[in-house]
């Protein structure tokens, strides 16, 4: 082959590699993920990661700038213009399970170098991320029980289902 043709082939392959989602590369991106395994009120459920990858085709849509192409939110690129992908991209890596614990509040209060003071906790981040996008997409689930079914403890908590006040069955909208 001529040098020109070789260069062209390398470019094509490189582009294909760049465009190929991580699952095609040898990164361990799971197809499904169990979510809410610690849930007391709602059951855990399997999150269809592969489906979302096919639908969004863009990692940074959920994983901010830690994965995928660079995000264009001006509030982010102020600092993260040159940030690449992160080793840790799962939500739990940055978003705390208990964002309002005394320890994290103290940290926010006392550490002057901490920038992301408004970082939501894990539960908040996941719901804001999922519901935020689902609201803009037709037929995407936004009701509570559309994603995760309620446990018995959850029914008791909401005075719904079998725990509904007699004579007034719960209108299960979520």
């Amino acid at each position: 082959m001529s040098a020109q043709r070789l260069r062209f082939a390398v470019m094509v392959v490189a582009t294909m590699l760049a465009l190929t989602p991580g699952s095609a590369l040898s990164l361990s991106v799971p197809d499904t993920l169990p979510l809410n395994s610690q849930g007391k009120l709602y059951e855990s459920f399997q999150f269809d990661h592969a489906r979302h990858i096919k639908l969004t085709r863009e990692c940074s849509g959920c994983h901010h700038h830690t994965a995928g192409t660079l995000v264009e939110d001006p509030n982010c690129i102020r600092c993260h213009r040159n940030s690449g992908e992160n080793k840790v991209v799962r939500c739990r890596g940055c978003h705390l399970a208990d964002p309002f614990s005394a320890a994290s509040l103290r940290e926010k209060n006392s550490n002057p170098n901490m920038y992301h003071l408004d970082k939501p906790g894990l539960k908040g981040a996941m719901h804001q991320n999922c519901i935020g996008c689902h609201k803009k997409v037709a037929k995407a689930p936004i009701g509570c029980t559309e994603c995760h079914k309620r446990k018995k403890a959850g029914d008791a908590f909401y005075s719904a289902g079998n725990f509904a006040p007699r004579g007034k069955p719960g209108k299960d909208e979520h």
Binding site: F100, L117, D118, G124, C144, F163, K171
Partner: protein, 305 residues
């Protein structure tokens, strides 16, 4: 005779003045911005989805009775509800042309200078250093002046109880959580983190920062920053507060400012009136023997000089 009368009057006046000393001690403070470590909650209505989990959490945490309608029922939004003896917090839905319906949670705002506390004559309310305004049902007489005073109309009263009716309002989960530094039950449960817990001072900065970073998303006002002297529960939203059922005519003065002038007059009246009226009496009855003028014995008195 006149001196004796004068001394009697002074005694009576002195006794009432002592009692008056107990009344009307309104310390004129410049402005109280909350205790330095006071906590608060920032309510971001752009995040609220109206799931009512906060209502359910409050109900369970504060051991309220089973509601009439389940907490996942959204038909309740068809009418505007208010807090009452069975619901210390409610979420209401407000229409908005720009964005579609907006949900707002309401509960006691735990003011810096609470009107309820100011108006209570048995000192049933306390503003704790954590920022919560808590209530002592053991001394409450049930006058309901606090309900009259609250500019947000938040306290409810358990009218249905014949023998132990008490005021019912959000207490910031003080006994079970805030005292130990933990966020209240509603904040804990909120899936969208529409409620952010933290020090009030930090939350104010946070709120303004959110507005600054995404100005298209928010109406530029943090409700509760200054209203009626500042509250611990702060609100930001995409539409103006009055469209969310929040009173925007309250002004920034705490309620006690309205009452201070009268309270200050009280000891003055208690001190000045005895001398003033005794003086008038002495002037009016000059040269007359007062007791002859009284006609309590037989018949025909009346127009004596």
């Amino acid at each position: 005779m006149k001196r004796r009368d004068f001394l009697k009057v002074c005694l009576a006046g002195g006794a009432t003045a002592t009692m008056g000393g107990l009344c009307g001690k309104a310390w004129g403070s410049s402005s109280f911005e909350g205790y330095p470590d006071g906590m608060g909650v920032l309510v971001d209505t752009t995040r609220c989805i109206g799931c009512r989990s906060c209502e359910a959490a409050c109900n369970k945490e504060q051991k309220m009775p089973v509601p009439e309608v389940p907490f996942d029922n959204t038909s309740v939004f068809d009418e505007t509800r208010r807090t009452d003896e069975n619901a210390l917090t409610v979420v209401n839905r407000y229409p908005s042309k720009e964005s579609g319906p907006v949900y707002r949670k309401q509960q006691c705002n735990h003011c810096n200078e609470p009107a309820c506390l100011t108006s209570c004559f048995v000192n049933a309310y306390t503003k704790t250093k954590e920022g919560a305004v808590i209530y002592n049902s053991k001394v409450c007489v049930g006058c309901r002046n606090c309900m009259i005073a609250c500019p947000f109309n938040m306290p409810g009263y358990s009218y249905s109880s014949a023998f132990n009716p008490v005021v019912k309002k959000c207490i910031f989960c003080y006994d079970t959580r805030l005292k130990y530094g933990k966020p209240p039950a509603c904040v804990d449960i909120c899936p969208q983190e529409a409620l952010t817990f933290g020090h009030r001072k930090d939350l104010l900065k946070l709120a303004h920062e959110r507005i600054r970073e995404t100005p298209d998303r928010y109406y530029d006002h943090v409700y509760g920053e200054k209203e009626v002297g500042g509250t611990s529960w702060l609100y930001i939203s995409n539409i103006s507060p009055d469209q969310l059922g929040m009173d925007n005519t309250l002004g920034n003065e705490p309620i006690i400012s309205n009452v201070k002038d009268f309270l200050g007059t009280v000891p003055m009246v208690l001190t000045i009136w005895p001398a003033l009226f005794t003086g008038i009496h002495l002037l009016a009855t000059r040269n007359k023997d007062h007791h002859d003028d009284h006609a309590n014995h037989s018949g025909q008195e009346d127009d004596q000089p």
